[in-house]
Symmetry: C2
Amino acid sequence: MSKKISIAIDAMGGDNSPEKTIAGIKIFLDKYKTKDDFILNIFGKEKEIKNIVNKYKISSNQINIINSNHVVSDEEKPLTAVKNSKNTSMWDCIQHQLDGKSDISLSAGNTGVLLVISRMILKMINDVNKPALAGLWPNENGMNVVLDLGANIECSDQNLVDFAELGSALFKSLFPNEKPKVSLLNVGSEEMKGTEMLKIASQRLRNLSNQDNFIYQGYIEGNNIMNGVSNVIVTDGFTGNVALKTAEGTAKFITNNLKKSLTENIISKISLIFSYFSLKKFKDKLDPRKYNGAIFLGLNGPVVKSHGGIDSIGFYHSIDLCYKIIKGDLMSQIRKNLNHSKSVKE
Amino acid sequence: MSKKISIAIDAMGGDNSPEKTIAGIKIFLDKYKTKDDFILNIFGKEKEIKNIVNKYKISSNQINIINSNHVVSDEEKPLTAVKNSKNTSMWDCIQHQLDGKSDISLSAGNTGVLLVISRMILKMINDVNKPALAGLWPNENGMNVVLDLGANIECSDQNLVDFAELGSALFKSLFPNEKPKVSLLNVGSEEMKGTEMLKIASQRLRNLSNQDNFIYQGYIEGNNIMNGVSNVIVTDGFTGNVALKTAEGTAKFITNNLKKSLTENIISKISLIFSYFSLKKFKDKLDPRKYNGAIFLGLNGPVVKSHGGIDSIGFYHSIDLCYKIIKGDLMSQIRKNLNHSKSVKE
């Protein structure tokens, strides 16, 4: 790709913005200072942004600040979003992308509004019925793509097949040296398990399985999501949302209890001196900021939602995700997968 | 209760049985040696069981060994279970319970077969449409009851209302000093979230909420299951099964990585000397053997399924669970809750 990777960033969304988002941009610029293959288009209140850019001593010809007069409110409802969100930093990002001036948009703002206006402006890919929210989730060997995480609470077998194609394309764009291995989340691994809809989706995925697009591995149970045998986990948005949040809650419960145990008395506190670096590595591996960014797939262009409450390091990771998605040419991977899907007689 | 608590135990189900189950019974008898308010009816191959009873030097007038000539195979399918399972130790347990000679049955054998024959022999409670599998799940303040864990992959609002009544009754029987606080598992906490079916169930639970039966607290998201604010978590069997197994997988992933970190070099190994007792307490709290036993609710009598792969300590915990369920008079609690449910004009 000789053209520069162009990322539209809504600087105004999420807690402590634009301070947090600009601090995240600063981290990105520092980490990528040897690269000149990208441009960051920063949308929001120009004066406010410029002040913070100066405060962080950012001087780069790879940023482009574009004024937006308004900001999407956290209270805005998806139903009234289209009417009320014009001329906001979020809307202007997506419009910039539609106009071909950015390849991808990133916002830490109101999720419901972002999904609605992205879909309205960018429109669905012709062959896809419903868009999906995909996330990254660590496993024993590396990383999973999991989708849908909540865009669609009810899904058909066609939706799940689409999600498998979209999720595999995302996996290939992010991890070009690995093969996407798809599993359907279910309550058991035997063919007879689950709803009729899941059984139909499973049979269709089996027919579509090949070396170039994705290898279908059958059903997976919740306890095996992280064992690394599969790396693209497909489910409906209700189940995916519950599974992801349950994993987050479990991780928090365990690490809180571990922290309590290791600080409960003077002897255990001494142990921290000896285990400091090991525990730091352990903590780093599980750091949720590394997995920040849900990718909205199925539109004519990718949109990334950063967690609203995340800090600047988390926001940096979502900019990094945007860069890698475009570097890995996600939209070509999606087109390739969907063409394969159409060409196979199931 | 002046009558003794009578527990029917299938000694033959699960891995390493009957050695494992008898070893579990031995632990139970040792822990409860000051109590004479129970009797354990042990079903299986009499000669084999008696040999192991002698090996473990169990001499108690509180056990009652009853011969069953056959054992349910792990490969047996629920469809053919009724035809093939007569005269097995599992079947004989449930029959003993139906005859009024036991109050509860326990097996570590084939789950599908146990559910089918329990339902066929004991029959559903008149006012309940579908039975549910309930489990215990730790939270910050104590313990949750979570149901359904997989008996019904598709549920109606009526089923969820029944599960709330059954789960609250179980909670009251196990924790008589605490109030059951019910939440419906959903993808968000706002009223507008989730499927239409969930919204109807939520409205009905709100109408049924009272101080005597259960307090309804609205929706709960996966990340809050373990925060201790609610203690009876209601969901359909598909979502519940995925959530439970995802939590198990996450816990395993984290503890494996922690173990790796704390043994990776000599310095971190030294830390283990100082943190040994603290980490042991931490490990004990999370020990899955403590939560062993899924309770089959909605039949005219409770049936407990122990994990098949669990060891004797885990099996002991499931006998303990049976004892506590009957001690807490589960069936009266269920009748009381269901009568309340019928009397309220929703």
